[in-house]
Symmetry: C2
Subunit: 269 residues, 2 copies
């Protein structure tokens, strides 16, 4: 067991993102993470070196520290701790400054602050849009959407819409394909009309069964037969619509969202 | 104007996060970003160098490329393009491997894949929880929440709850303080009972007015007087509850969420 600290003078989101990415290269590593945002005084830095020492004593090996720290004095204190220190930010600032011919501001906490109010507002609006257009409640809003997701109940539409909204400011709506649609036969009207920005989400039947079972234990809705039938019929609709289909069994919402973003952007360009 | 490419063989989320962080140090830089995930073949890399050249010709200056690329051959092709190339990942993998005594897997796309199903499921469950417990619909679920946010209508509760769920897998519910609560006087019961994990969100009246005005133009609800009164009365409740108050006017959902996460974690420890 090894302790890993993610350290920053502000949110630490960058340190955490890069740290996790790097650690994902070492499958067999067993680690416990400690998230340390807002280390913005020397006193806090010193308290943290204390915790590093405690971790080293407990683990029998010095902890890893992933840091994005612009303040030289605080960084030096951290580096002095009993740890393996990786500064992820400082190393690139100077070369980049040279290339750009602009001195860095050295202001901390810029990465995730509201530096561009218009794009921040766009993201918040997109979140509200996703909330108001979840679960097919407003197909009349599809024309105002950037993206529409469809799929059977519990195929991952809602989390993906929210991720697209929060991260990319995309106005994402979704439409669940239900028994009613199957019974009516044919393709649901709202989907045909927004085909050009429509994505189908699918999922393996066994995984779907587990998810539905947790929601409504012992129900017909959660039976494997019903899950298989729902997926088969939904996939038939996707084929007829000739839309991109993404499988949420093995792909995370980050991966699914990236595929969708890429497809949307390439249509815009 | 300068073009900035965020490039990766998988989602590119890490490249984008670090790239944005670094660029936020250069306030005056005017740039256009191009998001290039899934550059996982040599053909795609070559097509991208073509786009780099086009950007250089158009802008009159070579583009910046922020890359997280594990494949040596693809990286070499990209580096050969007309660009200023910053590899954000490779530089740390070998030293980290040395420190850990573990060879890197060199498998791409690990950063944002479902590598730990249990923590991924926890995040998805938390998103569903946030959706089902938005807007005070289920105060009886507060005991099952990790965090409860409160504040007046449009103070930023919903986006923050969703962010906490998506990123940290926290079960976040929220409770809007309304006219009804004010009329009843006293502190709403559901809030008193969950005081230990409760956070108050506030916002400047003028900002609130703008947001509400967009939602219900010309309404009493959106008037400045009403916004000021709502905020004043909500803040009086926060004071009586002695809870942490966060202002969403100037802080992003990432910053607010980090403060909340830190407070929650420090209570757990």
């Amino acid at each position: 067991m090894r302790t890993v600290f993610f350290v920053s003078e502000s949110t630490g989101i960058t340190a955490e993102t890069v740290g996790h990415s790097l650690l994902s290269q070492f499958d067999s590593l067993d680690y416990e993470q400690v998230y340390m945002p807002y280390i913005n005084t020397e006193a806090r830095a010193r308290a943290l070196t204390q915790r590093m020492q405690e971790a080293a004593d407990r683990d029998g090996v010095r902890p890893l520290v992933f840091s994005t720290m612009l303040d030289d004095d605080i960084r030096e204190i951290l580096k002095g701790g009993n740890c393996y220190f990786l500064e992820l930010f400082e190393i690139f600032v100077e070369p980049l400054s040279q290339e750009l011919g602009i001195p860095p501001s050295r202001k901390s906490g810029r990465s995730h602050a509201i530096t561009k109010p218009s794009s921040y507002t766009k993201r918040i609006d997109a979140i509200n849009f996703a909330m108001a257009n979840d679960d097919g409640v407003r197909p009349d809003n599809f024309p105002r959407s950037d993206v529409v997701l469809t799929g059977v109940s519990r195929s991952g539409k809602t989390p993906t819409c929210l991720y697209l909204a929060i991260h990319y400011g995309l106005r994402a709506a979704n439409y669940p394909i239900t028994e009613e649609d199957f019974d009516r036969g044919g393709i649901p009207g709202p989907l045909i009309e927004c085909r050009d920005k429509l994505f189908g989400l699918t999922i393996d039947a066994q995984r779907l069964q587990l998810i539905r079972e947790e929601r409504r234990p012992g129900s017909t809705y959660a039976s494997l037969a019903r899950c298989e039938a729902d997926i088969r019929r939904a996939e038939a609709i996707f084929r007829r619509l000739q839309i991109t289909v993404l499988n949420t069994t093995s792909q995370s919402i980050e991966e699914i969202s990236t595929h969708i973003l890429k497809a949307v952007k390439s249509k815009v360009e």
